[in-house]
Amino acid sequence: MAAMAQHVQGMLDLQKLGAVTFDYGNNIRTFAFEQGVKNAYDFPGFVPAYIRPLFCEGKGPFRWAALSGEAADIARTDQLVLELFPQNEQLARWIKLAQKRVKFQGLPSRICWLGYGERDKFGLALNDLVAKGELKAPVVMGRDHLDCGSVASPFRETEAMLDGSDAIADWPLLNALINAASGASWVSIHNGGGVGIGYSQHSGQVTVADGTKEMAKRIERVLTNDPGMGVVRHVDAGYPEAIAFAKKTGVKVPMG
């Protein structure tokens, strides 16, 4: 038996014995299947299993960078996360460990997964810190294109959508349009990231907290509507978690 088939067969055997097993995006199941392991897809991909429930609540890899270049500015924003979301233990654990273990590359920065209703709250508080002079210079807030409502990538982020909408690229384009209309500082539309040309469509936004009142309005809109796209995209695909979340948080979905 070929190496990959043997590897996956071992994973399937362990799964049967009780191991929680998942594919981590390297498509190993497909190769094993092609090499004759007929039940290779008995274990799920990581996005449907673990990431999609987060996407349903608008959660994704939110990030910010201190334009001052000062590590102290990021330390202050770390503190801000802990102040604003004291009930989120997982987040607090990440922030505290990241402070110890992550070495900054280039401008000091931080990543953490925040969702709908959290990003705008954080962004406005951050803008206030800039206004009050608690941070030495403005801060940019952006995210990966791999986010809840900003990517169509059928081999990864939109694998096995509930309604079969994996390859529909309207969503990332709508995401870019609403971010531009909401006043993001820069907005991008790309093709092919992560999995190669022709296999994905995705968009990004970056918004600058410069401490002004004008930017506060833009920050509130962008950081509400951008993760909001993740909620509505998953409501439209029929995910019960997203439907319940939209109802609870008042996201307006005409046919939801």
């Binding site: 191991a19 995006g25 990431i51 401008l107 006043g183 500082s185």
Partner: protein
């Protein structure tokens, strides 16, 4: 007030008009654009090309093998000039890494709009893209390379942490303490797994055929120990599971042998996954890692698999 480093902003000090850097974002509160919105875009473009951040800054490559921040050096310098001259009610348009227009919009509009690597459906493939790229008409922007918001490898660690945390929440009451996590692949995207697992409290076993990759994780403090026998790995990990200690072990070996061996011995991980670069087979290299690291096939594989873009495209 932060420190401003002269000579790092193109168009200043010793920089010549087509300098290939090295560049890094200016620090501090003195700005060279007409407002912070424009300055932010300039600093993040330069930050993407900071040698601490970028994979191959001399070629404008930020990450993922060929993900670039600008189409070529002429375009890069034209973007910099455009951002410096950009008014607070103007918007710069960037088409696959080339600045193509500045339009008057309004103050609440984005200062920059970018479209990278997009093709019409029927022509949307690598062959056509490479053709247009070679003709100087396009650029591969990856995700955050061409949109100026890549911040280094923190993203992989955080994404992996979040995945393990979500699994912990779903299956194990929110914590991996006292749980055994087993995976393959400690290079590139897989290299964040040991630290992401111990951050969640787990006893972690990572299997990789290449000891150099594991050594690299030891050096950065992402992995605790390296061993060469399964017995030794299990001795450490059983102890860690019993005590509920967070520990990571890198085991030199091949998953194709060792994963079935675990099943044979009845050693059942609580959480099992894999991040060996399996995609290579489908996407470009066309071959799976040979089972023996001593074979000539292995050396051939190593020497020809380095440039495979997919293996390096996970980081954002």
């Amino acid at each position: 007030m932060g420190v401003s480093i002269p000579g790092t902003v193109p168009g200043t000090a010793a920089d010549t008009s087509l300098s290939k850097g090295p560049f890094r974002a200016p620090r501090g509160t003195a700005i060279s654009c007409k407002g912070w919105q424009q300055e932010a875009a300039l600093r993040m473009l330069l930050n993407n090309l900071d040698p601490e951040v970028a994979e191959k800054p001399e070629d404008l490559v930020v990450y993922g093998g060929t993900g670039k921040a600008a189409r070529n050096w002429e375009c890069f310098h034209a973007i910099v000039r455009s951002l410096k001259a950009l008014e607070a009610d103007e918007t710069l348009l960037v088409q696959s890494g080339k600045p193509v227009a500045v339009f008057r919009t309004h103050e609440y509009a984005p200062r920059v709009l970018l479209c990278n690597s997009n093709l019409v459906g029927h022509w949307n493939n690598w062959d056509r893209f490479h053709e247009l790229d070679r003709a100087g008409l396009m650029m591969y922007g990856q995700m955050t390379a061409g949109s100026w918001i890549y911040i280094g490898t923190q993203g992989i660690l955080q994404g992996t942490y979040e995945t393990f945390a979500a699994a912990a929440k779903k299956h194990f009451g929110g914590n991996l303490s006292g749980k055994l996590v087993v995976t393959g692949g400690m290079g590139g995207m897989g290299g964040a797994q040991p630290l992401a697992a111990t951050m969640n409290g787990a006893a972690f076993l990572g299997i990789d055929v290449d000891p150099e990759r594991i050594k690299k994780r030891l050096k950065t403090g992402y992995c605790d120990v390296m061993v060469t026998s399964l017995d030794e790995a299990l001795r450490i990990l059983k102890n860690a599971v019993r005590k509920g200690e967070a520990t990571s072990v890198g085991l030199v070996g091949n998953c194709a042998d060792l994963i079935p061996e675990l099943a044979k011995r009845g050693v059942v991980p609580d959480l099992l996954t894999d991040q060996t670069s399996a995609q290579m087979q489908r996407w470009s290299c066309g071959r799976r890692i040979p089972k023996s690291t001593r074979s000539a096939r292995w050396r051939r594989w190593r020497s020809t698999s380095r440039g495979c873009w997919i293996c390096r495209s996970w980081a954002r």
